[in-house]
């Protein structure tokens, strides 16, 4: 797997730890929701950065009180047509103010990157064989937006500008 972050392919420091495997001492580790529920106390005391992976049927309300424990949350797209995680991402960013890395994992495709980024994802786990140049273009194909979403810090104005005339364009980048 490769990782797109900050407009480039980046090395991925995180490892996904199977539910029955030992966690690394202090390296960044991602655990499942089931593992978190089972080992919460121990995991919260651990030294290294901790990430959580949620399935598309595991809404973030279930960990609303624990978010401070995570440096990363990975939201799964089991199929690209399963769009639940778009809402989960916005809820994490906008309702709960989660500021860590929000990673899209699973069936992540080039043509979905634009929507994912606007919902608050800032990291994308993709296949190793992608043409990175072409994939990065996906973030900039559409520069006009009509509605505020996650990370639109001037959200009200975003909608205003979209409803108002004039060439004001909003540059959208990853």
């Amino acid at each position: 797997m490769a990782l797109i972050k900050d407009n480039a392919l980046r090395p991925d420091a995180w490892v996904l730890v199977a539910d029955d495997a030992e966690l690394p001492e202090s390296d960044p580790a991602i655990v499942s929701f089931a593992r978190w529920r089972r080992d919460r106390a121990r995991l919260a005391r651990r030294n290294g950065p901790l990430g959580l992976r949620l399935g598309s049927d595991q809404p973030p309300e279930g960990v609303a009180d624990d978010l401070a424990a995570f440096d990363l949350i990975a939201l799964e797209f089991p199929k690209f047509t399963d769009g639940r995680a778009y809402s989960y991402a916005r809820i994490l960013r906008e309702r709960y103010g989660f500021a860590g890395e929000l990673r899209a994992v699973g069936n992540v495709l080039r043509d979905q990157l634009f929507f994912m980024r606007r919902c608050g994802f800032d990291a994308f786990e993709v296949g190793d064989d992608i043409d990175i140049g072409a994939w990065l273009e996906a973030f900039a194909e559409i520069e006009v937006i009509y509605q505020p979403a996650a990370g639109d810090t001037h959200a009200l104005q975003a909608l205003r500008t979209s409803l108002s005339p004039g060439p004001t364009r909003m540059r959208v980048t990853a």
């Binding site: 809402s87 989960y88 009509y146 505020p148």
Partner: protein, 553 residues
């Protein structure tokens, strides 16, 4: 008319460029059909029985003469010289080639049209009352809000992969001409006790295999909260709508399974979190969008036009056509002119390029360059001076568009059915044609009076058969085409789903059966009583008896 600003143009240009790239990747084999499918659907491109079909949005049913010419040009250059107006204020082209589609989209963008979100599991083209802005009974123009919703929903990042398609309709008048109770969300503009204008919100109506007349979940929503409330509904649906079974994925199923009260509570809870935030609709913004829909510069006219009255009295054929085609305009001295797309033996909704151009000419000369598409698969010239109505009629007649049957038995709504659609069980178009022949006699047609006949070729209900006064549903019986009949459906403010009469009829017998129903109605009606009223009074029994005999059915 809504006029695009530079941003709107820029977006369409980028969007088309994006789709051109996607088509190129598909043709180069870099995208599988499964991966390409949702991308093409987001641009209105279906794969039908014989070819691709491109569905172009006519947002809230309003189009300009220039846009109509644009559609004519597409029909001529890339299709077989015609287009098909649907029940959802869209137009479909049945024969485009995949590699032409980006060019078609470029051409459409040139006249401020697109195919964005006319299919796919996303918020679809927003529909509205075809008489918006001209209806005498209107509180406010629903197109203002339909346009605001169109913008908000366009490429909405969160709601592009919903469990299923999502249809929103808006009406601005107490008389519902937008079928708001059979949409995923229906918005009815209303005034509350304090005199403020806002919306009644209906959620979870729909047809298809589980027809539901949608429940009201909010009596009154202030205008400024429109988008935040819609976003709350969609957010609940996006998370909880079923994704394991596409037949149970519409919001109506979610509303039914959670219960209306609980569903409403979830929506209200989410809405309270986001209300007053970035989606708050400022009155200035509403006013600015509203300015696009300001009335055209009407002449000050007398409510009665003597020349028009004279021609009405002098020419019974003209009077006949006026009787079915004209509706009351809010401006004195003007009429709303309905144009039937249901000639005897024609394909409901089909219009040739020549007819489109002729209509564009008429709109320019007589209707402030405006045309509307109705959800009954007809068109409207919304602002015609009474003194011009006769000239319009003559011109429509030369175009073959002056069939005097709007709202009558031969004004049949039909889906494409087995002639085009790969999901169909039975033909719809040829049954519609046969019905129009059977009721071709004008004297009889008028004697029968207002009657809605709707035909769907399968349970997906694209022809809205559940809400037809007489509904026909194509079913498959051992490979034969059969039709189930329902009676008493209605899609207006007293929306009702039709009742199943009994065993289905084969193709050869279905038109006779429809005629039997009509005859039964005429026998049983009281003077001046319409079909629905009679049906509601006498019930199914007399119809059953005549159709199946005393001891069957």
């Amino acid at each position: 008319m809504y006029a695009y600003d530079q941003r709107d143009h820029a977006m369409l240009a980028q969007r088309t460029a994006q789709f051109r790239g996607q088509v190129a990747r598909r043709l180069a084999g870099q995208l599988t059909e499964a991966e390409f499918r949702p991308l093409r659907l987001l641009n209105g491109l279906y794969l039908q029985l014989h070819a691709y079909m491109l569905r172009v949005a006519i947002p809230y049913g309003t189009l300009s003469a220039l846009q109509m010419r644009g559609l004519a040009a597409v029909a001529r250059s890339y299709d077989r010289g015609y287009g098909h107006f649907t029940t959802r204020q869209n137009i479909q082209f049945n024969w485009p080639k995949l590699d032409d589609v980006p060019r078609i989209l470029d051409d459409l963008a040139g006249v401020e049209m697109h195919a964005i979100q006319t299919s796919g599991n996303t918020i679809r083209n927003v529909t509205a009352d075809a008489y918006a802005g001209v209806a005498a009974d209107e509180i406010e123009d629903p197109r203002i809000y339909a346009e605001i919703i169109r913008q908000w929903s366009t490429l909405h990042p969160e709601f592009t992969f919903l469990p299923r398609k999502f249809k929103i309709a808006v009406t601005g008048a107490p008389r519902d001409r937008a079928a708001v109770r059979v949409h995923d969300i229906g918005l009815q503009i209303r005034t509350n006790e304090a005199g403020d204008v806002g919306f009644a919100v209906i959620v979870g109506g729909g047809l298809g295999r589980t027809p539901v007349v949608g429940p009201l979940i909010r009596e009154f929503l202030p205008k400024r909260d429109l988008l935040s409330y819609l976003e709350a509904i969609l957010r609940v649906y996006n998370q909880l709508g079923r994704r394991d079974n596409k037949f149970k994925a519409r919001i109506k199923i979610l509303v039914q399974s959670t219960g209306i009260a609980r569903f409403t509570e979830m929506v209200e809870e989410e809405w309270r979190r986001i209300a007053g935030g970035s989606l708050d609709l400022d009155p200035h913004e509403i006013a600015r969008i509203a300015a696009n829909f300001a009335p055209p510069p009407y002449d000050r006219l007398e409510p009665v036009d003597p020349g028009f009255e004279f021609k009405l009295a002098a020419d019974p054929r003209f009077a006949q056509w006026c009787g079915t085609s004209l509706a009351r305009h809010r401006q004195p001295g003007y009429a709303i002119v309905n144009v039937s797309l249901k000639p005897v033996d024609g394909v409901p909704g089909d219009v040739t390029a020549v007819q489109m151009e002729g209509l564009a000419d008429l709109a320019e000369r007589f209707s402030f360059s405006e045309i509307r598409a109705t959800h009954w698969q007809n068109l409207v010239l919304p602002h015609v001076r009474l003194g011009d109505v006769h000239a319009v009629w003559l011109a429509l007649a030369t175009l073959g568009l002056a069939t005097p049957n709007v709202g009558l038995a031969s004004d049949v709504i039909a889906c494409p059915g087995l002639d085009y659609c790969n999901l169909a069980n039975a033909r719809s178009i040829s049954v519609a044609q046969a019905i129009s022949r059977r009721f071709a006699d004008l004297k009889r047609l008028n004697d029968i009076g207002d009657l809605r006949i709707n035909i769907s070729g399968c349970i997906n209900a694209c022809g809205h058969h559940h809400v037809g006064n007489i509904g026909l549903l194509g079913v498959d019986k051992k490979g034969e085409e059969y039709y189930q009949l329902t009676l008493g459906g209605s899609d207006d403010e007293d929306a009702a789903l039709g009742d199943l009469v009994g065993p289905a009829f084969p193709y050869d017998a279905i038109v006779d059966a429809v005629e039997t129903i009509v005859i039964t109605y005429m026998d049983r009606r009281e003077p001046g009583e319409g079909f629905l009223a009679t049906y509601r009074r006498v019930g199914l029994a007399p119809f059953k008896e005549r159709l199946y005999g005393a001891h069957q059915g």
